[in-house]
């Protein structure tokens, strides 16, 4: 066997949670970098196709995103990010009230997703109606997926905290010592990512709705 099997009674000692905490912080920042370049492709497409305006097909005159739903969308995103920041600060201050705040952030983000989905049904163009419509639909749809991914991260922190309050994880079982101590750095990393994603959301809104 190329990699030897685990011998009888062999126990890999659990490692302190600080290491995984650092990794979460680094991962959140690297994800921000990757997300930036992903959405940069759509921003580039927007600028490139708009400046080219091939056969006058960039954006037919009747095409306008629904400003009301767009405003609801971005307001929810910004409010959610602010609530998440508040939650992170309360967590650092060791206040138990961080949990309602992060639940609020989660709910607001989901409302944003719903608002965007409703907008798709009421706007007067679809993805096949020219270059602007293509950029609008694809960019906003992939942004929604990014929101859902980030909200998944938040949900895991909420669920872990709720479980830990009921029955704390054993300190010396498993491969991370005191795994519940990872909730705080996990939330911190998720808040960092979400704040950054909200920044991308603002750029998305300004580009697609206002520019």
């Amino acid at each position: 066997m190329m990699v030897p099997p685990v011998p009888a009674g062999h126990q890999i000692p659990p490692e302190p949670p600080d290491v995984a905490a650092r990794q979460l912080a680094v991962a959140a920042r690297l994800l921000c970098g990757a997300s930036t370049f992903f959405f940069l492709a759509f921003l580039f497409a927007y600028i490139y196709l708009r400046s080219l305006n091939q056969d006058g097909m960039w954006r037919p005159p009747h095409e306008h995103p629904n400003q009301a739903w767009g405003a609801v969308f971005i307001a929810c995103i910004v409010l959610s990010a602010l609530t998440a920041i508040v939650s992170g600060r309360r967590m650092k201050a060791k206040s138990a009230s961080w949990l309602p705040a992060v639940i609020g952030a989660l709910v607001l983000a989901i409302v944003a997703v719903i608002a965007q989905c409703i907008e798709y049904t009421v706007q007067n163009f679809g993805p096949t109606d020219g270059a602007y419509a293509s950029v609008f639909c694809a960019w906003s749809a992939f942004y929604l997926i990014a929101i859902l991914f980030t909200m998944f991260w938040f949900e895991t922190q909420i669920a872990t905290e709720l479980r830990a309050r009921r029955s704390p994880a054993p300190a010396n079982e498993g491969d991370v010592k005191e795994p519940d101590r990872l909730i705080a750095p996990g939330l911190d990393a998720a808040v960092f990512l979400w704040t950054f994603m909200a920044g991308i959301g603002i750029v998305t809104y300004v580009t697609l709705y206002l520019a």
Binding site: A27, A34, V135, T160, E161, P179
Partner: protein
């Protein structure tokens, strides 16, 4: 399985598994993955047909249902991953179970056929998996050269020829993005930095299985008519192609996701898991090369994913990113693709630099010359690779005012690349060289990459590029950089590190035969391509001028010898690993780097105690080996 369940077998692995075979097959394993993958594929296919028949007249009319195929691939991949068990942990976390790191590390031989979080197992998985797809790519190359023995299409038709060229190029460029980081960095970076694991072990396993799924998807293109675009997937050909193009799109998108995750994991590992005392200025140069490559992966690959998603949307639901009639532009694709595509070249080349600079101090018994210069070269190449992409568009018709900038930036990128060569030469200077097989491959790397690099400088010139664009000259150039630079260093790494990975040594005589035959036939194959290119031989066509037959025949015969050299390598693998099975010494090269200080085969836990690093790397000529200091507390 809960997180604690996942841990339980670690301490209880000695108890024999008495379940009947049929029972062992039920669960999250490769068999389940294949079943769910196939099920997912047909589910996606069915849903795609339901959507498209009611919504898209085009698909209904032409029987070219891109929606169905893309959904089939997507659902198939999801089913495959779920079957392997990749959804278990996210679901557990969703339910609030505590975080854990390890999974299925103690499941005997079955570890190699499923989700396993041991970085050493993943390294071996990568080596075998990548080898499989390299073989497919190489067989395609042989078929291409067989076709080019004649100046008219003989073995395959023009369309099939394009598919052969496309699958060869795409397979090689896509799979080899992880050719070094997959097997060697996954296996050795934790050992080299004194860690017990990668930062995100499940993500590490995920990158491998995504790559495997991608490889099979690309191979399946032959069932859907292939694709005519070569590895670049250019629009508008892309949008006009039959459904086989969707295989290309899905392949590269999955490779892109795998690359982002692999790079992220590598960076997080190197940043957070270095042993005490292993400062940035003490990192082995291979780790630095891995880091520089990972930066490119994290930043460039998302652009590729976005580019291909736009392409998929154009083909499936008729958006207009690249379709001129709808307000799009095929130049947009070229810009976005090459913004990824040029860093991609360095994603391939940088690990090769790292391997060569890591190995030569061992075989000349002196420290790496210009350690900091080499690092600045690698980081410089990484940074500058984002500023050269438009040189690929010069013939397509970019703004004339932009040409000088991209010509100069392309020429300037040869400066940090030159740093690597200076360090290579400086290390060789007055060294006591042992001409082992890995060292031969390193020397060959220098010879080949020098030709590849200098021909690149020639091509960076606008006037020359305009003349030689799309010719065999360009093909010779990038084969000298990718095969000459990466594949030769890849084999150097195989002969150097695989004895550590598997605990067995290669037959040296066969290895030397492999090297010499490969080196001579490689140059005999690709050097004449420069001449063919200058004489006007275009890429991607199987019909050419009759006066080029002689040189093409020479090239084809050389290519077959090159292919034969690979068979010698395979024979060596089979002979050494299955029949001879001569145990490798713990440190056959007398290397001082940390990975060679642990026993062979490497223990489950890598290090009983995390080492404290108190010496610089490559301290040849001094008695202090890297990592020979006192141990730090466990988990530090």
């Amino acid at each position: 399985m809960s997180a604690t369940d996942a841990q339980a077998p670690l301490a209880a692995s000695a108890a024999p598994d008495l379940r009947p075979v049929w029972r062992k097959l039920i669960g999250f394993n490769l068999l389940t993955a294949v079943i769910l993958g196939v099920g997912g594929y047909y589910l996606g296919w069915f849903i795609g047909h339901q959507i498209s028949t009611s919504s898209f007249a085009y698909e209904k009319a032409t029987d070219e249902n891109d929606v169905a195929l893309l959904l089939a691939y997507a659902f198939g991949v999801i089913g495959f991953l779920v079957g392997l068990g990749f959804a278990n942990y996210p679901v557990e976390r969703l339910l609030g179970r505590p975080a854990s790191l390890r999974e299925k590390e103690s499941h005997g031989i079955s570890r190699y056929f499923g989700l396993c979080t041991d970085h050493k197992v993943v390294g071996v998985q990568y080596l075998v998996g990548i080898g499989l797809f390299l073989f497919v790519g190489a067989v395609n190359a042989m078929m291409i050269r067989a076709e080019l023995l004649h100046d008219t299409p003989t073995i395959v038709g023009p369309n099939q020829y394009l598919t052969l060229v496309g699958v060869h190029g795409t397979m090689m460029m896509g799979i080899m993005t992880s050719g070094v980081l997959g097997p060697f960095a996954n296996y050795f970076v934790p050992l080299m930095i004194g860690a017990r694991r990668m930062a995100f072990p499940r993500i590490e396993a995920l990158t491998f299985w995504l790559l495997m799924a991608a490889g099979f998807i690309l191979a399946s293109t032959v069932f859907f008519g292939g694709f005519p675009t070569g590895w670049t997937g250019y629009e508008p050909l892309n949008d006009q192609a039959v459904m086989g193009m969707d295989s290309y799109i899905m392949f590269f998108a999955l490779v892109g996701i795998s690359m982002v995750l692999l790079g992220l994991n590598m960076m997080a590992t190197i940043i957070t898991l270095r042993a005490p005392g292993l400062t940035w200025s003490r990192l082995p140069i291979f780790v630095w090369a891995t880091f520089a490559t990972a930066v490119l992966m994290v930043l460039a690959a998302p652009m590729l994913i976005a580019t291909l998603l736009m392409s998929a949307l154009d083909r499936s639901i008729s958006t207009s990113f690249y379709v001129t009639g709808g307000g799009g532009s095929s130049y947009l694709f070229q810009n976005l693709f090459w913004f990824f595509g040029h860093p991609e070249v360095y994603i391939l080349a940088l690990p090769g630099f790292g391997i060569v600079l890591e190995l030569i101090p061992v075989f000349v018994r002196k420290p790496l010359w210009g350690y900091r210069l080499a690092i600045s070269g690698m980081l410089g190449v990484s940074l500058m690779s984002f500023f050269v992409w438009q040189h690929h568009l010069i013939v397509s018709g970019i703004n004339a005012d932009l040409r000088p900038f991209y010509m100069l930036s392309t020429e300037i990128i040869s400066v940090p690349t030159g740093f690597i060569f200076i360090c290579f030469m400086g290390t060789l200077w007055r060294g006591r060289m042992s001409l082992t097989v890995p060292m031969w491959f390193c020397l060959a790397w220098a010879f080949n990459f020098l030709i590849g690099g200098t021909s690149g400088v020639v091509l960076s010139d606008d006037a020359t590029d305009t003349q030689l664009h799309g010719s065999f000259f360009v093909m010779a150039h990038f084969h000298y950089t990718i095969v000459g630079g990466l594949i030769f260093s890849f084999f150097a790494a195989i002969y150097y590190w695989v004895p550590k990975m598997v605990g067995l040594q290669f037959n040296e005589k066969l290895a030397k035969w492999h090297f010499w035959l490969m080196f001579v036939s490689f140059n005999s194959t690709f050097l004449p391509l420069f001449a063919l290119g200058i004489m006007g031989m275009p890429r991607r066509v199987s019909q050419y001028e009759p006066h080029l037959v002689g040189l093409n025949t020479w090239v084809s015969i050389s290519a077959f010898v090159l292919g034969f050299s690979m068979l010698i390598f395979l024979a060596n693998v089979v002979y050494s690993m299955i029949f001879a099975r001569i145990p490798a010494e713990a440190n056959p090269w007398n290397s001082k780097s940390l990975e060679w200080q642990v026993p062979t085969p490497v223990p489950v836990n890598n290090f009983e105690q995390i080492p404290v690093i108190d010496a610089d790397p490559y301290d040849y000529g001094t008695p202090v080996a890297l990592g020979a200091g006192a141990a730090a507390p466990a988990g530090a």
